[in-house]
Amino acid sequence: MRSSLVICLSIFLTLAGLTLPEVVSAQAKIISPNYIIQMPNFNSGAGIPASSGYRLDTTIGQTAAGLYSSSGYAVRSGFQYIHSIIPFSFSMSNFLINFGTLTTGIPSTLTSTLIVSAGGAGGYKVTARESTALQKTGGQSIPDTLCDALGCTESAAGVWSLATTYGFGYNMSGNDVPSDFINSTYYRHFANASQSQTDQIVMSNANVGRTRTATITYKINVSAVQPAGSYQNKILFTATPSF
């Protein structure tokens, strides 16, 4: 019995070693030096803040100018006022949204959680756009919602609460979301790339943000005349840090 347990434990540990992912953490790279000035004569050190936590050592003068003329470039990475170069990261739960079988006149909703860490950046924004309206092979589509009484667009949210209002749209709640999503009844439709609509901001903040979290709620409601089938599209989220 003991030998069996030993063998079993060995298998368990071997499988654990083989299958458990390495601890790949965005934070692992924080050990890199602070704001990097690859060539220290880029501009000058005067006026660069020296907080209690750090100070940037820069060289000013003829020697530095000489360095630029010999190498032909100067580089600095990261943000001057941030001690460490923290990666800019974006994550999302449930990238595959599957509403399953839909019942006409009964709206379905699903959610994803969006998380942005812009610790090393001054701020950030996340935009979204859809490739097309939800479509199935053959060309039929579920229209982008215009909300109750045609009250919303891709850039302005409106109330969508009637069971007789059909289409596909989304609501945002949580940190840094657009102010027109007043409550959970307010929806927009995604900017439609096939109609040359511009990507719309779904999250943004001018200040340094760590683990800013928002929930996107996708809503779909189909009419009785909607042909049956598998409707799909792609939604592209773009997260960019501030400069």
Binding site: L15, S51, G72, T238
Partner: protein, 332 residues
């Protein structure tokens, strides 16, 4: 007795087999399928989030970015897209129509060295993988001396489980790092800042907050940092200094500038709890800490409105009480 011993041995052997089998099945199930719990997660990161490069025409520089895929495995690709400022908070507006491709005027300036050899070419990233992306920047000898702004985009198209046909959208994500590229022969480009706005309330209550609004503009062709400070000189008491956050102000743009406390960006406001008298506040900016400062002064008068109102209210209440007491005595 012997028979019993044999039976016991057989039972132990059977239990042993069962235990072994259970452990094996548990291990396979746990490690084979447990991770599927994390399925459908999408996670990208990029470092550094910004690179500022000054380069001479005709020279070249190699830059490395670290990207990670913290979600499901998928096909990744790298793009470089020009951007301009959007709004006044440092947001970028990507000009995707002019992405750096073979037809772009900047096609010869950028090349990708690893992990692929052309922008937009897909490469596989497993979940949890970290990858370095190396690009070479080599503006031609005839490149016009000014700034050029780009975003390096890392796009990830996660795998969809085989045989799965969702009814609904499939989300894709991409993440960017900004490249501020200054082309300069001498490395000393001229900066042209201007104070677009420096304002504070003209009159405030003594218990109110003295908050400043600062917007700095860039009329020039090169980015600079908003190095500077606000010096507050009151009629009474000691002077106070607020440091501006050294943010990048790119050419032909205006940026709202907050103040800096340690590494945190904060609203620019006086730390005085009670304000009385005249406050002369002077904003002084020196782009990148070089050259002559640009200054602007605003004056604020702090008057104890709320304190006076409180005193009047107390006095009035006192008077009413006294009056009612007097009336009470007279009637009795």
């Amino acid at each position: 007795m012997i028979k019993n011993k044999k039976q016991t041995k057989t039972i132990i052997w059977e239990i042993d087999k069962l235990l072994f089998g259970f452990c094996l099945v548990f291990s396979i199930l746990y490690f084979g399928f447990a991770q599927k719990v994390h399925a459908q997660t999408l996670g990208l990161s990029i470092s550094p989030p910004i690179d500022e490069i000054m380069i001479m025409p005709g020279k070249e520089v190699t830059r490395t970015f670290t990207i990670t895929n913290d979600g499901e495995s998928g096909m990744a690709s790298i793009y470089i897209v020009p951007f301009r400022a959007q709004g006044e908070n440092g947001n970028v507006a990507l000009d995707e129509k002019n992405a750096v491709t073979g037809l772009s005027p900047f096609a010869s300036w950028f090349s990708i060295i690893s992990p692929v050899t052309s922008f937009g070419e897909k490469f596989y990233m497993t979940g949890g993988q970290t990858q370095t992306v190396t690009i070479k920047i080599s503006p031609g000898v005839n490149a016009v001396e000014r700034d050029y702004y780009f975003t390096l985009l890392y796009e990830l198209d996660n795998d969809i489980p085989g045989g799965f046909t969702p009814i609904g959208p499939t989300n894709q994500a991409r993440i960017g790092a900004n490249l501020l590229l200054s082309i300069s022969k001498d490395g000393k480009p001229v900066k042209n800042p201007y104070i677009a706005e420096f304002s504070a309330p003209k009159v405030i209550d003594s218990l109110g907050s003295l908050i400043y609004k600062i917007r700095i503009g860039n009329n020039g062709s090169y980015v600079f940092k908003s190095n500077g400070k606000i010096t507050i000189k009151p009629t009474f008491g000691t002077s106070e200094t607020l440091n501006l956050a050294p943010l990048n102000i790119i050419s032909d743009s205006i940026r709202s500038i907050p103040c800096l406390s340690g590494e945190e960006m904060i609203s620019c406001q006086s730390n005085h709890k009670v304000l009385i008298g005249i406050y002369k506040s002077t904003l002084s900016i020196i782009p990148d800490g070089e050259g002559d400062p640009q200054t602007k002064t605003v004056t604020t008068v702090a008057f104890p409105f709320s304190i006076l109102f409180g005193l009047i209210l107390v006095a009035a209440t006192y008077k009413i009480i006294r009056k009612s007491q007097k009336t009470g005595k007279e009637s009795s």
